[in-house]
């Protein structure tokens, strides 16, 4: 049923909460997993400076140490967890608006299922920080499994 499962991850606990669920499904359906890290252009622009967005566009990602380490750690975590289960994990690093990149990636790579974590924020916090998950739901036609971080507790499955 599921051949290719996409896990968008930024390395946060929230994102990692979805990893176990995704790997579990992948094992069951013998699917391959795509771990996708997205450098949010807005975060780069406001956090590091707009010049750094140009730097990413120029393909200078390898010299942007901290960001690269974050990216490698985030997708590497998925790869490390998948390896003992015999799951093929493709790591991919991209930049842009997260929900758009996720939707595009899913389309281009024939993804059957997107598994992602969510904060389950409400009210003012949601309005301020927004929800990538929510926007992803609206941007893609691929089924999305949302793993609520608060629902998973400390450890899952």
């Amino acid at each position: 049923m599921y051949k290719r499962i996409l896990i968008p991850t930024d390395g946060s606990d929230v994102a990692q909460a979805a990893v176990d669920q995704a790997l579990n499904l992948a094992e069951k359906y013998d699917a391959e997993v795509h771990a996708l890290f997205i450098a949010d252009v807005d975060a780069v622009a406001y956090g590091l400076g707009t010049e750094q967005v140009d730097r990413i566009r120029q393909g200078k990602f390898s010299e942007m140490e901290e960001l690269r380490e974050d990216a490698e750690a985030a997708t590497g975590h998925v790869a490390d967890r998948g390896e003992p289960l015999g799951i093929t994990v493709h790591e991919h690093h991209a930049g842009g608006k997260p929900h758009q990149v996720i939707a595009n990636y899913a389309e281009e790579h024939d993804i059957d299922l997107i598994v992602m974590g969510s904060h389950g924020r409400a009210g003012v916090r949601r309005a301020l920080l927004g929800s990538v998950t929510e926007r992803t739901l609206r941007s893609t036609h691929v089924p999305v499994l949302v793993v609520d971080y608060q629902g998973t507790g400390e450890e899952s499955v």
């Binding site: 930024d10 946060s12 929230v14 391959e32 795509h34 450098a39 949010d40 252009v41 807005d42 975060a43 622009a45 406001y46 956090g47 590091l48 400076g49 707009t50 010049e51 750094q52 967005v53 140009d54 730097r55 990413i56 566009r57 120029q58 393909g59 200078k60 390898s62 010299e63 942007m64 140490e65 901290e66 380490e69 990216a71 490698e72 750690a73 997708t75 590497g76 790869a79 490390d80 998948g82 390896e83 093929t88 493709h90 790591e91 991919h92 690093h93 991209a94 930049g95 842009g96 608006k97 997260p98 758009q100 990149v101 595009n104 990636y105 281009e108 790579h109 024939d110 920080l129 927004g130």
Partner: protein
């Protein structure tokens, strides 16, 4: 400090009376069209995704980066303020032309390529990593934000004054409106600072400025092809006030202090330096610097001509220029627009000149506010307060910083304490006193250590604050003005020797001395840090995608494998992160093929 300019120490009149203030349709459309163009470029740039960050994209060339440097750099202070200072105080105003260009030589010779090699993100990043200190990082970040504030006040004033010609509304309304547009845009997208957008802003402002200058020169018979040189013929007509060096209270000392402050300030401004981090390599860093200087000179060589034409036109229209009944400070600040208007140029052309001033102000405000937002979001929030910050949180902190800074700037600009050029010079004195010594010593003397940097930056901040509180703040804050007495200066002697706009002349040697002495007296910095400094000067070309830290870490791993404090993570950087799993992330070296093996 106004007395330094040898004009009456009257408070700024915010009514440039001679300026035709009424709503004009075509200039208004030009301005709005320009703002929409920035929006469109920003939008197109923001939505383009980078599918694979390991694949080389289109690189930014010398010329494009040079234009971006020019736009980032040239603010309302260059576009409007420089001509104003030359018109109102003649020879003294040339300190600004000299200071704001000579600084680029220091950048070119001592810093552009070396900073590129160090390869960090923000200016406080350099300070924090070089001196292994979050304290130093925080001081640098706060200084960056403070520079953004002082500098941007000048931009807000400029936008308000020029806006009066175009929209005919009240100064207060226009400052609030123009700042709201700029801040709103920056808080929504942040892409105003992208290289492409900056290059477009440069083209708009330079075309507007030169078109105005040539039109005035031709129609009034001042000049033909090269007004930048031909204006010299006016010198004898303009009178001693314009041409005689160091007349009145303007001393040699003040001239030197101002020029020096502007030079070191140029080499210490965070939003200028970050442009060099992002280019392909050191050679491009150097050439971008040269091109940047060239593009800046195009405007700077033209500004004195515009000032001379404006002064002559003003004299023939109103009779007097200086002293009572002469040109007010506010009129001076719009002299570029005023000259075009007095020359009887068509409204659309005067409007274009005015719109160029707004473009200049917006471009620089964008650079400053984004530098401030990254200082807060990356250097204070993420690096010090909450290392686990998510990307969304960083965006939120950055946006809040921009909005807060915008509000404070707008409020201050409603009753500005000085001319645009002077306000901006204050920001330069700050950058020159606090950040420049850290960049310079940090790059060139490997023994500069944490304690030295902390002591030096604190000293610089104190000197700048004392100088500013002594002569600038009493002019705006009522009760302090009463306390300070007649000239709005607490200690006149201090003001003479450490003038607020030229405080770096005194501060820089002291900060250097303090930093060096304290560094000698305390423990040497870690070997790792010294190697990083050496790497910034190594004659061997560095690997294409490497930073000094990478090189140090990888040689370290080969020699002894041990690493201490300064590094983060301690991972061998040249290999790719993945273990034995199938990884479609390419190694940094192979940038060419667009691998999509996973799909």
């Amino acid at each position: 400090m106004i007395e330094a300019l040898a004009i009456d120490p009257t408070p700024l009149q915010l009514l440039p009376e001679a300026l035709d203030q009424s709503f004009k349709a075509i200039p208004a459309i030009t301005t709005i069209g320009m703002l929409v163009l920035f929006l469109v470029i920003g939008y197109v740039f923001a939505v383009a995704d980078t599918d694979d960050m390991w694949v080389a994209g289109r690189s930014i060339g010398n010329v494009e980066n040079g234009m971006a440097i020019g736009a980032n750099w040239m603010s309302a202070a260059s576009y409007l303020g420089m001509a104003a200072l030359i018109a109102l105080s003649g020879f003294y105003g040339l300190a600004f032309v000299v200071g704001w260009t000579a600084g680029y030589f220091i950048l070119l010779i001592f810093m552009a390529a070396q900073m590129r090699r160090f390869g960090k993100y923000t200016a406080p990043d350099f300070v924090g990593d070089r001196f292994n200190s979050d304290g130093a990082r925080a001081i640098a970040a706060i200084t960056t934000i403070l520079i953004g504030f002082v500098y941007a006040v000048g931009q807000a004033v400029g936008m308000g004054l020029v806006g009066m010609y175009i929209f005919g509304a009240d100064y207060t309304v226009l400052v609030v409106l123009m700042m709201a547009i700029t801040v709103g845009y920056l808080a929504l997208s942040g892409m105003l600072g992208a290289t492409k957008n900056m290059a477009v802003q440069y083209v708009i402002l330079i075309v507007a400025f030169l078109a105005g200058l040539w039109a005035v020169g031709l129609t009034q018979g001042y000049a033909t092809v090269l007004p930048q040189i031909e204006y010299g013929a006016l010198a004898s007509d303009l009178g001693a006030e314009f041409t005689e060096p160091f007349r009145g209270d303007t001393s040699y000392y003040l001239w030197v202090a101002t020029a020096f402050s502007l030079i070191v300030g140029t080499a210490g401004l965070p939003h200028v330096l970050v442009r060099f981090y992002t280019v392909e390599n050191e050679t491009i860093a150097r050439w971008s610097c040269v091109w940047g200087l060239f593009f800046i000179c195009v405007l700077y060589l033209s500004a004195p001509a515009f000032a001379a034409f404006g002064t002559d036109l003003y004299l023939s229209e109103f009779g007097t220029m200086w002293g009572d009944g002469g040109m007010s400070a506010a009129e001076g600040d719009v002299i570029v627009v005023l000259a075009s208007q007095l020359a009887g140029l068509p409204t659309w052309l005067v409007g274009l000149v005015a719109a160029g001033g707004i473009a200049a102000a917006i471009a620089t405000t964008a650079g400053l506010f984004i530098a401030a937002s990254s200082a807060m979001s990356h250097d204070i929030y993420t690096s010090i307060i909450n290392p686990e910050a998510t990307q969304r949180q960083q965006v939120l902190v950055g946006r809040l910083t921009i909005v807060a800074l915008g509000v404070v700037t707008t409020l201050t600009a409603l009753d500005p304490p000085a001319l645009i050029g002077e306000l901006v010079a204050l920001a330069f004195a700050l950058a020159g006193s606090v950040l420049f010594p850290m960049f310079f010593l940090g790059l060139w003397w490997e023994n500069t250590n944490r304690q030295g940097a902390l002591a030096g930056m604190t000293t610089g901040l104190v000197i700048w604050t004392v100088a500013t509180f002594n002569s600038i703040v009493p002019e705006t804050v009522g009760f302090l003005g009463d306390l300070a007495g007649e000239n709005n200066v607490f200690f006149p002697t201090l003001e003479t020797w450490v003038p607020a706009i030229g405080s770096a002349l005194v501060a820089v040697p002291i900060v250097f001395a303090v930093t060096i002495v304290v560094s000698y007296l305390t423990e040497e910095p870690p070997e790792e840090t010294k190697l990083m400094v050496r790497q910034c000067h190594s004659p061997e070309p560095m690997g294409k995608d490497m930073t000094a830290e990478d090189v140090v870490q990888s040689t370290d791993a080969v020699t002894d494998g041990g690493e201490d404090a300064a590094t983060d993570g301690g991972e061998d950087v040249v290999t790719d992160g993945g273990g034995d799993t199938v990884v479609d992330t390419e190694q940094p070296e192979t940038e060419t093929d667009d691998n999509q093996s996973g799909g």
